[in-house]
Every structure is written in C-alpha cells, then in structure tokens.
Symmetry: C2
Subunit: 148 residues, 2 copies
C-alpha cells in the first residue's frame, strides 16, 4: 500500500535535507544531530506532519516508541553516557519528533536539561573523542532499526 | 507473585509521600505536580529504582509507555493545551520517571522548554482557571489508567 506523506509547507522537519540521516523508512527517520556540544545527540522524526503521540494510530505509536528505544540502546552501547535524556517537545516545530541525548557529568549543562543555561564548556578533547564514535553510533542505530 | 520494590536510600522519588498521587499500582504511580506555573504538570514514576527505559524488561517498558500515553490523553482531554511535552531526563534524580507537561502559548516559557529561562509571567486568572481543572484531570487519569 502506498502511503502519501502528510506535509506542511514551511515546517523545518518536513523539509529536512538528509545529510546525517542514519535510518529512514516510510514511517520515520533517525538523524544524528550535528551539535557541537552534544556528539551523539539523535532525533527520531515521524514522517507525517502530526503534533502529538496521541495523534498516531496505536500501531504507529508503538512503532515510534520502539524506534526511540532502539536509538536509546545504540546510544548507551556506543556513547556510554552517564544518563540518556528522552524528550518529545515540539513547541517551536509541532511536528512529532523525539530527542535522544547522551548526557555526561562534564557536559555543558549537566545535571540540568540541555535547554537550561549552560554551566560549563566541555573540554575539546572529550568532545573530539565522543565525535569520533559517531560512525560507530550510526552503524549501531542502523543495525538495531533493521532488526525491528 | 509478590514484588519487593527496589529502593535506594536518599532518592527523592523512592521516598515520595503521596499527597497528589492520582494513580498507583505495584509498578508505577502518577502524580499531579504542584507547580504554580504549570497546573496539570504530571509525572509518571516507575516504582523500582532503575535509571533508564532500557533497564526495564520489555513488558514493563511497554506498560510504562502506555501509562505515559494515558496521561497524555487525559491531559489533552481536560487541560486542552497547545502542545504536550513528554520527557524522561533524570540527571538529578536518576530514578526512571516521565514528565507530561501541558503547554500553552501564554505559559512562562513558551515556546522554549520549561527548563529554559522564563520569558513571562502567566496571568493569575488563567493559572487559576487551569488549576480549577485539576480534580477533573485526576479523575480522567484514574479512569484511563484503570481501563488499561
């Protein structure tokens, strides 16, 4: 069955180009966000322009939950963070997406959320070492998503 | 089968008293947080002291996802927010819990996350009107959780 994606003109997630996309299917995609302070920050983006988890059919909601879970597992496996943060906010871009963020005690905001005021600058060598793991993270995400 | 809860001394979610608890079973509880700026802010708290979603058995993870979903539905139904925010952070209190937050365009941080710097003070009459919905929200959560 062909699915015609729901699109909203001007929504930056509908229009997203895909240079860092590590997984994509007809329902969702997974990107590694190019965030200088947060190597390994990932987003799971639902393809259709819907606002909330409760706007999804049950089957789709379970699928999206499982994708976020697969990305969390890959992030833990490869990035070995102190904590994983998961969030679906979407106040600015009300197009359903999840943030999966590896947190470290030396990161710019720890223990506050990444959206609070920064409290430190992480050492460049630490960020560089984490950034070097991204190809491995991309592989781990693709492997787990393709198992599903 | 009796389940002996995993407890960590000094963890504020293990030790939580239950004045605003609107639902509780052997696995999880749902509380309405008494946040002056965010009437309707709820938390779903896993009973065992575990850190991450990926520390749960699959069955428990699905149960927790469904509970967060039920609370999101109740929040939408009763509080009619502009957007729902969902987050599992736990950097300060690494005891698995989810925030379910009704967001309004007039709230203290909109469209930024509630953890960013506040940008306004919501009118007292609006907060009061939302606070008046809390008994109804408690009922809606209990009803949806007991359906599950």
């Amino acid at each position: 069955m062909t699915h015609t994606p729901i699109r909203e003109s001007g929504c930056e997630l509908c229009d997203l180009a895909a240079p860092m996309t590590v997984y994509a299917d007809s329902k969702l995609s997974v990107i590694i966000v190019d965030d200088a302070n947060y190597p390994g920050f990932c987003r799971v983006i639902w393809r259709d322009h819907v606002r909330e988890m409760s706007d999804l059919a049950r089957e789709d909601r379970l699928l999206l939950n499982e994708a976020v879970f697969a990305v969390e597992q890959a992030v833990r496996e490869v990035m070995a963070p102190a904590k994983v943060n998961l969030a679906s906010l979407g106040n600015v871009v009300p197009h359903l997406h999840w943030h999966v963020i590896p947190r470290y005690t030396d990161d710019a905001h720890f223990p506050a959320p990444v959206w609070a005021a920064a409290v430190r600058q992480t050492e460049a060598t630490l960020l560089e070492a984490r950034r070097a793991l991204l190809p491995q993270l991309a592989d781990a995400i693709a492997r787990r998503m393709n198992q599903g």
